[in-house]
C-alpha cells in the first residue's frame, strides 16, 4: 500500500513536469460571450 501511495504521488509529479506550462490564451468572459451573442 505504501508503495502505491508513493507511486500515485510520483505520477502526479511527472504529470506536472510534462504538462504544458504556457497558454496562448483567449480568456472567455461573459462580456466576450455577450458580444458574440449580439
Amino acid at each position: 500500500m505504501e508503495i502505491l501511495a508513493f507511486a500515485s504521488f510520483a505520477v502526479l509529479v511527472v504529470a506536472w513536469l510534462v504538462a504544458p506550462s504556457r497558454g496562448d490564451v483567449i480568456v472567455v468572459t461573459r462580456k466576450s460571450e455577450d458580444r458574440k451573442a449580439a
Partner: protein, 408 residues
C-alpha cells in the same frame, strides 16, 4: 509526566491544527488583495495549491525528515516514511496527545511556510516552476531546519528557543523570499507604473483571518491545554495589536495618512515577531516586541523599496525581519517565570541565551539563502522561472490558468 492521552490536550491540539490550516487560504486572500486584478486567482492558487501539495508531501516523507529519529543532528531518519508507526498512541514529542495529532498540527506549519514565500514572486512566476520550487524547498529547506530546531537537531541541542516558528517558519520564508525576488528580478513596469493592490478589503479580511488562525499557531504550540497556552494566546493578541498601532502611526507620520493596509501589515508583523517568543515571555515584553515589529518591519520595507528590490508583497520585511527580531527578542525577554521548562533570557540574567538565539538566526538565514538560490537556479535552467513578458502583461490568471477572477 502523564503518558496517557488527555482529551483536553487532544481537543485543543486538533482545534489548533484546524486554526492553522485556515491561515493558508487566509494568506491567499491577504496576498490576493495586494496584487492587480489580473493576477488575483493565480496568487490565491499559490496558497491553495500548497495546502494540497504539502499535505501529501508531509505524510509521505516530510514528517519523517523533520521529526523522525535524529541522524547526527542534521535530519530525521526515514523510520516514519508514509507515517509508518505514527498512530493513535502518543509519540516522543507529546506525551498526552496521539502522535497523529502532533503530526497533523506540524503539517499545517509545513504548509504555510512555503506559501509565505509566494508573496515575493507574485505576478511573474511560471506555475510549473512554482510547483517544483515548492516541493524542493519543503524537502530541502523546511524539513531540515524544522529538524534542527524542533526535531532533536543541533540547534535544539544547542538550546535555541523557538516556541512556534520564528526561525523555522518566518526567517526561512522571509530570507528565501528576498533571494527569490532578487533571482526573478522586477516585475514588468516596476518603478514606471503603479502596481497597486486591487482589493484592500480582501487584504484586511485575510489579515484578520490570519490573526484568528495565529491563536492556533502560537497557543497550540503549547501542545497542552493549560496555562502556557493561555499565556501564548494573550501575548500573541497583544503583540499583534501593538504592532498594528505602531505601524499605522509610523506610516501616518511618514506619509501623512493612517494606512488601512499598513495596520493590516503591522498586525501580521506583530504576529510574526511574537511567534518564537510566545511561550517564553510575559505580556509587558509582548508590547515591546510588538512595538519593535512595527518599527523594524516598516523600516525594512522602506529600505528594500529604496534599493529597488521587487519583493512584491513585502515578505522579507515582514517575515524575515519580523522573525529575526522575534527570535532575538526571545533571547532578551524569555523568563522561566512563564515557562519553567525553558531558560531565562538576557534581562533575567542569562546573556548567553541571546548569543544562542543569534546563532539560530544566522544559521537559518545562511542555509535558507544558499539552498533557495541553488533550487531557483536549477529550476531556471530546466524549466524557466518567469513567464514571458507578454504573458506577464496579460496577467497570470489568463496566461497560467485560463480563468478570470471577476466577470464584470
Amino acid at each position: 509526566m502523564p503518558t496517557t492521552i488527555s482529551a483536553g490536550d487532544t481537543a485543543w491540539l486538533l482545534m489548533s491544527a484546524a486554526l492553522v490550516m485556515l491561515m493558508t487560504p487566509a494568506l491567499g486572500f491577504f496576498y490576493g488583495g495586494l496584487v492587480r486584478r489580473k493576477n488575483v486567482l493565480a496568487t490565491i492558487m499559490h496558497s491553495f495549491f500548497i495546502l494540497c501539495l504539502i499535505s501529501v508531501q508531509w505524510v509521505l516523507w516530510g514528517y519523517t525528515l523533520a521529526f523522525g529519529p535524529d541522524k547526527g543532528g542534521i535530519i530525521g531518519g526515514l523510520d516514519w516514511l508514509a507515517l509508518r508507526g505514527v498512530g493513535q498512541e502518543p509519540g516522543p514529542y507529546a506525551a498526552t496527545v496521539p502522535h497523529q495529532a502532533f503530526m497533523v498540527f506540524q503539517m499545517m506549519f509545513a504548509v504555510i511556510t512555503p506559501a509565505l514565500i509566494t508573496g515575493a514572486f507574485a505576478e511573474r512566476k511560471r506555475f510549473k516552476a512554482f510547483v517544483i520550487f515548492t516541493l524542493l524547498w519543503a524537502t530541502f529547506v523546511y524539513d531540515p531546519i524544522a529538524h534542527w530546531v524542533w526535531g532533536g537537531g543541533w540547534l535544539g541541542q544547542l538550546g535555541a528557543l523557538d516556541f512556534a516558528g520564528g526561525t523555522v517558519v518566518h526567517i526561512t520564508s522571509g530570507v528565501s523570499a528576498l533571494v527569490a525576488a532578487l533571482v526573478l528580478g522586477r516585475r514588468v513596469g516596476y518603478g514606471r507604473e503603479a502596481l497597486e493592490p486591487h482589493d484592500a478589503t480582501m487584504t484586511v479580511l485575510g489579515a484578520s483571518l490570519l490573526w484568528f488562525g495565529w491563536f492556533g499557531f502560537n497557543a497550540g504550540s503549547a501542545i497542552t491545554a493549560g496555562g502556557l497556552a493561555a499565556n501564548a494566546f494573550v501575548v500573541t493578541n497583544t503583540a499583534a495589536a501593538m504592532a498594528a498601532l505602531t505601524w499605522m502611526t509610523v506610516s501616518w507620520l511618514h506619509k501623512g495618512a493612517p494606512s488601512v493596509l499598513g495596520a493590516a501589515a503591522g498586525a501580521v508583523a506583530g504576529l510574526v515577531a511574537i511567534t518564537p517568543a510566545s511561550g517564553y515571555v510575559d505580556v509587558s515584553a509582548s508590547i515591546l516586541i510588538g512595538l519593535g515589529a512595527g518599527i523594524f518591519c516598516y523600516t525594512a520595507i522602506q529600505l528594500t523599496k529604496r534599493l529597488r528590490v521587487d519583493d512584491a508583497l513585502d515578505v522579507f520585511g515582514v517575515h524575515g525581519v519580523g522573525g529575526a527580531w522575534g527570535a532575538l527578542a526571545t533571547g532578551i525577554f524569555a523568563t522561566v517565570a512563564i515557562n519553567s521548562g525553558a531558560k531565562d533570557g538576557l534581562l533575567a540574567g542569562n546573556p548567553g541565551q541571546l548569543g544562542i538565539q543569534a546563532i539560530a538566526v544566522g544559521a537559518s538565514i545562511v542555509y535558507s539563502a544558499v539552498m533557495t538560490f541553488v533550487i531557483l537556479k536549477l529550476i531556471d535552467v530546466f524549466v524557466g522561472l518567469r513567464v514571458p513578458e507578454s504573458e506577464e502583461v496579460l496577467g497570470l490568471d489568463a496566461s497560467q490558468h485560463r480563468e478570470a477572477a471577476y466577470q464584470i
